[in-house]
Amino acid sequence: MRRQTNILLTVGLILTMVVLSTGILAQNQMEEFKKEQDTLKESVGTLRDKVSGVEERIATAEGDLAKLTKIKLSGYIQSQFLHYEASNAYPSNVFMLRRVRIKFQYEPLNGVVFVLQPDFVPGNFTLKDAYVQLNDRWLKTFSLWAGKFNRPNYEVEYSSSSREVPERSRVIRAIYPDERATGAKLEIAPPGIPFKVQLALFNGNDGLTINDAAGNNINPLNNDFDNHKDVMGRVTYTFKLGQIGALGIGAHGYYGKIKSNALDVLNSDYTYNKTTDNIGQLIRKNWVGFEAQLYFDFLGGLALKGEYIFGVNGTPGYTAKTSVVSPMTSAIRNDTLTLTTLTTNTTTSRPAIERNFCGYYIYLIKNIGKHHQVAARYDYYDPNTKLASDQIGVAKWDAGIKNATTDKFTYAGTDPVVATDAQTKTVVNNNLKSGTGDIKYQTITLAYSYFFDDNIKIMVGYEIPMNKKVGVNDLGVGNVTAAYAVNGVPGVYDYSNAIKQNTLTVRLQVKF
């Protein structure tokens, strides 16, 4: 009995100890668990803070990224090899960079676009495009452009990165030099209707080379030098021809004037037009053009494009006056000391001329598959429709050389009496002869383009210009009788013959 009691007591004691130790253990575990929980909570809190921080940073980065998406960058490089076949070409083959352009476009707000397009051609950095474009946000029809941008014409606005032949037509290069002009433009293009109207106002002197009497270009920066602004407009409409293709038609007009810079103005045939003593007299630059583009889906894309332009294109002249006083001589005549001077006033002037011109071009383009394109273009440019070819070099304006001498005799009233016998001579040089600026050309251009992908294009082009023969082989017309040669090739062409000026172009274009 006692033994049993002892056993029971021992078991009870052990149980109590076990319960107590378990309780203590559980309590310890609870404390540890709590500690772990606290640590975990702390870690979660820290992580939450970190996530919040990351979220904040992402939100800021997204904001910055959203700003960056408002900037668009594009551009292209055209690197080419040219082989000239002209008799006087030296060097006759060159590698050159034709275009190195990057276009920056920034749209800070819906409908407001800033565009900058510099051309980084080595040695000739120029700013090609620099304009602000305000698009109407409500009707999505109107847009206002201000700055320097392409003149509204089909071939001008058609980027050389897309053009199927190496260069623009001769008539376009002549009447729209440098393609761009400074001014403002209103564009009306209702959404969903293939109709567009462009109305522009320009300074009118962009890209023109206007020489002074010394042969220096007075228009290198294209700053306007008259108060007259030129108006230009273009209207286009595209007819869809079902699933077959489309026909685009349009017309454009240019109404402008430019300061003559000369005392005399000539007609297109070099006859006298009018005389004015105001060199600020304005001469006309007026023309109209009609265009059409036919796209026809025949075993791939086929396009026929053309434009005809005619009108009057004024070219400013120049006037320069110089005054030279010859050294004084003296002599005793009749007990009077006589001092003699000769003042020579020379007016050197080239009259301005308003030439009637016409020109056109026709393209035939065929795409073969996704990678190949062949193109042929015929273009015609007659810069002076009022002058027959055989009159070029013959027709001229010559106001003659006028010499006038006026004698004056004055007394200075000194003792001994001194008289000044001053003489003045006026010389006027005023002439202009027809020449290279009047020669008409027909040009055939053939080209093949291989599109390696959307970014890389390889083009091989061959241009065959054919000049009309001029009437006389004479100085100023472009002739070889000047008899000078550099590196064994004659310095100038002989336009009294049809001359070879063919050019082979191999061009690699990278666009992004």
Binding site: Q243, Y295, G300
Partner: protein
């Protein structure tokens, strides 16, 4: 000698095998790229067509209508799917590159649906209200008859045709900066289904798990939910065509595939997916 014969025989067999491999007709591959809205439909068309035309391989990818049109211009795809018409500027690029204005083929109709969370008490909105909501002028649900809670906007990326279509036809202004852009209508639906105060837009075919909001042309007009009947009758105010674009008129296998899409069989799949046939 025997060995030589065996070797010659093996070489001849190898040659024949190689030649037969070389002259085996190559599988006709058609690439389709563009609208995310249309990607399920395009995949379905491709899947069904390939079952009956095993020699044809059709590869379908999304990326958005803008991406698809760029791919068409780049020559990276045969067919571009687009949930919006091609812009004049894009058509000009196509014209410059291929001397062609491209071929536009409307292949289905869609109603751009407004998605609301099922717990949202708002049932209908006018076009004007939607414009104000997505342009950020209206920021609280109570302004349009809902609870006093901020509106959470979900939309598409700017490469999406739905983004452009909705912006041009409904918002008519810039989207609010707070509008969260998501890659695909499915992502928009998913986000709205999880956000009680969210609102999003997208193609009708993706609307599972959310509520369709009825849309009114203006205050005086009746409200309509996008469905086959309201879209067919022109009652639902935000309807559009879904297009396929090609560079040139299709020929060969491409023509056969497009003809099949426009056939009764192809158009039946349009309805199955949740869009509406063109005919």
């Amino acid at each position: 000698m025997k060995k030589l014969k065996t070797k010659s025989g093996m070489a001849a067999m190898l040659m024949i095998a190689l030649l037969s491999f070389a002259f085996m007709p190559a599988p006709k591959k058609i690439t389709v790229k563009g609208s995310d809205t249309m990607v399920i439909l395009a995949q379905k068309w491709a899947e069904v067509y390939m079952k009956s035309h095993q020699e044809t391989v059709i590869q379908v990818t999304g990326g958005g209508s803008g991406t698809g049109i760029s791919a068409l211009i780049n020559g990276a795809t045969d067919i571009c799917n687009s949930s919006r018409p091609m812009k004049q500027s894009e058509m000009d690029k196509l014209k410059d590159r291929y001397a062609s204005l491209g071929i536009e083929i409307p292949c289905a109709k869609d109603g751009v649906t407004i998605f609301l969370n099922e717990a949202n008490p708002v049932k209908e909105l006018t076009i004007k209200q939607l414009s104000n909501i997505f342009s950020g002028k209206t920021r609280n649900w109570k302004e349009v008859g809902g609870p006093d809670q901020d509106i959470k906007l979900y939309g598409r990326e700017n490469s999406s045709g739905t983004y452009v279509f909705f912006k041009d036809n409904v918002v008519k202004a810039d989207y609010a900066a707070s509008c969260q852009t998501l890659p695909g209508t499915a992502a928009v639906v998913n986000a709205v289904s999880k956000d009680k105060y969210g609102i999003g837009y997208g193609g009708a075919a993706y609307a599972a798990g959310v509520k369709h909001c009825a849309v009114k042309k203006d205050d005086k007009s009746p409200a309509f939910v996008a469905n086959a009947e309201t879209i067919k009758k022109g009652q639902y105010p935000i309807t559009r065509f879904l297009y396929m674009y090609l560079c040139n008129r299709p020929t060969g296998e491409l023509k056969a595939y497009i003809d099949w899409i426009l056939s009764a069989e192809g158009q039946k799949l349009v309805t199955e997916i949740g869009y509406f046939p063109v005919k």
